[in-house]
């Protein structure tokens, strides 16, 4: 997994909390910085894809590892 600037563990949280927490964390970050999000909600896979498309933040990576979902989002 590529390098990241901040990490957000949204394990155990259900829709829409992973997205809301991610958005909040991204607000405090600078353009070009990368956020690593860990989630357990299976719905978050499609949701982070949609989130990236609609907000213009780039979804650099999306994968499942060890029963958890990992996302890398670069702030626009």
């Amino acid at each position: 997994m590529a390098a990241f600037d901040q990490e957000l563990d949204a394990s155990g949280l259900n829709c829409p909390l992973p997205i809301l927490r991610a958005k909040k964390t991204l607000n405090s970050m600078a353009s070009g910085q990368v956020l690593h999000i860990i989630a357990t909600d299976p719905g978050s896979v499609k949701d982070f894809d949609s989130f990236a498309k609609q907000t213009g933040n780039e979804l650099m990576e999306s994968k499942e590892e060890g029963g958890k979902f990992h996302f890398l989002i670069k702030k626009a």
Partner: protein
Amino acid sequence: MEQKKLAIIATKGSLDWAYPPFILASTAAALGYEVQIFFTFYGLQLLKKDLSLEVTPLGNPGMPMPMGMDKWFPVLGLTLPGMQGMMTSMMKAKMKKKGVASIEDLRELCQEAEVKFIACQMTVDLFDLDPAEFIDGIEFAGAAAFFEFAGESDICLYM
């Protein structure tokens, strides 16, 4: 790109029906939408400082019941005193276990994201509701005020 707009009309005051408006409003705000929710009739319960929302199994055949209780308790059994309170406690416990946010949390997240809450003035008068019981930062207005925003919205939902 011009900011998209979401307008929601929230008319229900039960625990289960409290979720759709706050989930969709907070998510839309996170996606960059400008959002307004117009609370009318029983929906005004969702604006109270102290929420005492309940879920009822009555007239709600789609509600999954634990331990096959719907088979053991016919409709009349569901009217027993305490049944609604018990169902509400069970629903809240399940939500907590599954990591579903509380209504209080979602409402706060909406306000942080500048979702605008509008209380229907007519309903406030109709039910003699006390504005002091409502959370801060809401507006009181009527149908025409809502249309000023809803008329320009990209999505308008009635719940």
